[in-house]
Amino acid sequence: MTDRKGTNRRQFNQVVAATVTLSALSPFGIARAQGAKLKVGVLLPRSGVQSFIGQSCQKGADLAPGVIREMLGVDVELMNADTETNVDTARTRAERLIQEGAQVLVGPFDSGAAAAIAQVAEQRGVPFVINIAAAPQITEQGYKFTFRNFPTAVDLLRNGLGLIGELFQATNTVPRTAVFMHVNDTFGQSMAKGIGGILPRLTQLPFRIVETISYDPAAKDLTVEVSKAKATRADFLLLVCRLNDAIILRREMVKQRWNPMGIIGPGNPGMYENQFYRALGKLSEYCISNVPWYNPRNELTKRVDAAFRKQNPKDQLMFHALNVGYTFEAILIAADARKRAGTSDPKALADAIRQTDIKSRMMLGGPIKFNAKGQVEGLASACIQNLNMHPTVVLPASAAEAKPVFPMPGYKA
């Protein structure tokens, strides 16, 4: 018996049998692993204290499937989850994403959350590609499924402090003292520990830290902290901050009429984000961040920039450079591994990620290659200064778009 479209009973039975077999196998992940789409669980703090940065990173995730399909021919399906800037929520969301079929996890812009997600990824055998998180211990645990394409706090600091030396040379300045303020979360503590370890060895730097002040990144008021910092009469402020606290701190500096030579972030977010400019206006000017940045001349950057403008016609990539760049690259790493592995099986993907060697990339630094610990080495930073209300590369000289301004001019409240 044949129907009007030419399907006979035997063919129909074969289709039914295949469907039943696939359905039976899917709980064991056998059929799922062969699926055409790569399911990427994206964990970001889209609400809570870090919501602005989380949403900034999300822009990088949102444009990734289109760009990657064009580049590699791999179909990526995003499974978005909000960590709510909370470590416990990050852990439970990671669990749920895996239960719902995520084959790779990406995220989460926070060291505390990254450490929690890494544990889940290891237990469940699902690869986890960190977009942004700097605490060194995350890749020091001997994990087999955790990968990081972002500098550790030590590397961030080494690059960042090196650029501070270059900044002083370029501006012929010799600040003698700094007050060090830092957030007291996992990232901030790691950076503080790193500065304590590295700074004494960098004898070419002319300054010493006269006081260290830690504070809660969720603080609503930094009056006391800024009063203490101002009282040190330090030449400049060395600041490891997040976004919201950076805004509060900058406002408080104006209220207290504190005009140090400069505000320099040695490798942290906060002062180059779009919201920093929007919230502070002219007060955002001259702040300096020594951070990993994209190379505007790279072909991939231009491609991502075009996709970004298409998706965000009223926005500019430069305000999300680090967040979009590293989030995009994390998904690119997963898609590249999917293409080479020929399967979406998480274990095969993890093996393929270990063999990654992406030479054409967006961010400054060498090729994306993981060492035995799952860490990419050789990532570079740039000295970014807020000039004319946007982040401007001022060092290294080879990539500079403008000359650095240091000491920064005083402001009028």
Binding site: S51, S214, T223, V224, K228, A231, R257, A413
Partner: protein, 289 residues
């Protein structure tokens, strides 16, 4: 440590503490009369902050001018909430009251999330970043205005309760519920009025607070907790106690941040709470029951 630094920090703590005190005053007034602990207190202040932000964005209305419409709206909201929702729970077990007001808090937070999203919002007025220099002491203008508003509001409230017939009737309700009923006072209406007045305190505190901190939907819980700490330290039901508690918490947090570590600021306010609970459980200005 330079003395001007200590004085600067003390003044900032004092001014912030007065605003805290005004916020807690609403909680104290409501509890003192209605005997209901408002677990949605911080969330109500958050709504007042959002209302101020909206009025500023739409009409460029200064937060201190926005006090009038926001306070009027809050009086109506508080009156309606007490009359329609809380009054039936007044004679029920305290656990039922807690659950009711926690539910109200959850509804308010999630409503704000739906309407405004999770992002922080603020107002930017010309004097917000300015300060007065009195010798080596810098006084933050916005903080000083906020503290001034707190003192004026508290003064008006005290005058209302002391010198008006309605205020005296409310105090009579608080002192002797059955006696007030016997003399024919409309208890339910007076309770609703009290809740409305407590809400006005919260509204003024919210309008002032928006100059000092950015508002997010999740902000309320921390301020509910802070208000509890303040009224327990000052004495639950005591108006003067609420202001005193606010000032003590504001100053102790500021000085603790200065002399120890800023990260441990809130630890000291809770330490103060434990000390008060141990040695004067009714609060510094509270009456023994």
């Amino acid at each position: 440590m330079p003395i001007d630094l200590v004085v600067n920090v003390f003044v900032a703590g004092l001014l912030t503490g007065l605003v805290y005190g005004l916020m807690a005053l609403g909680l104290s007034v409501i509890f003192g009369v209605v005997r209901v602990v408002n677990f949605a207190h911080g969330e109500m202040m958050t709504i007042a902050m959002y209302a101020t932000v909206v009025l500023f964005a739409a009409l460029k209305l200064d937060p201190f001018l926005a006090v009038l419409p926001v306070a009027a709206g809050f009086f109506a909201f508080g009156y309606g909430l007490q009359a329609a929702v809380i009054n039936p729970f007044v004679t029920r077990p305290e656990t039922s009251q807690f659950m009711l007001l926690l539910a109200v808090a959850m509804v308010l937070v999630n409503g704000l999330l739906i309407i405004f999203g999770p992002d922080a919002r603020n107002v930017q007025v010309a004097y917000q970043l300015e300060s007065w220099a009195i010798g080596p002491i810098l006084v933050d203008k916005a903080r000083a205005f906020a503290a001034g508003a707190a003192v004026v509001t508290a003064g008006l409230l005290v005058a209302f309760f002391r010198y008006t017939l309605v205020g005296k009737a409310i105090r009579a309700c608080a002192d002797n519920y059955h006696g007030a009923k016997v003399v024919g006072l409309n208890i339910k209406r007076l309770y609703a009025l009290t809740f409305g007045l407590g809400s006005v305190c919260v509204a003024v505190a919210g309008c002032a607070m928006v100059l000092l901190v950015d508002v997010t939907p999740a902000l309320g819980m921390a301020y509910t907790l802070l208000a509890f700490v303040i009224v327990i330290v000052g004495g639950l039901g005591s108006m003067a106690g609420a202001l005193l508690g606010g000032v003590l918490i504001g100053v102790s947090e500021a000085l603790a941040g200065l002399f120890f570590t800023p990260s441990a600021k809130s630890m000291f306010s809770f330490a103060l709470l434990i000390l008060v609970l141990l040695f004067r459980p009714q609060g510094l200005l509270g009456r023994k029951t």
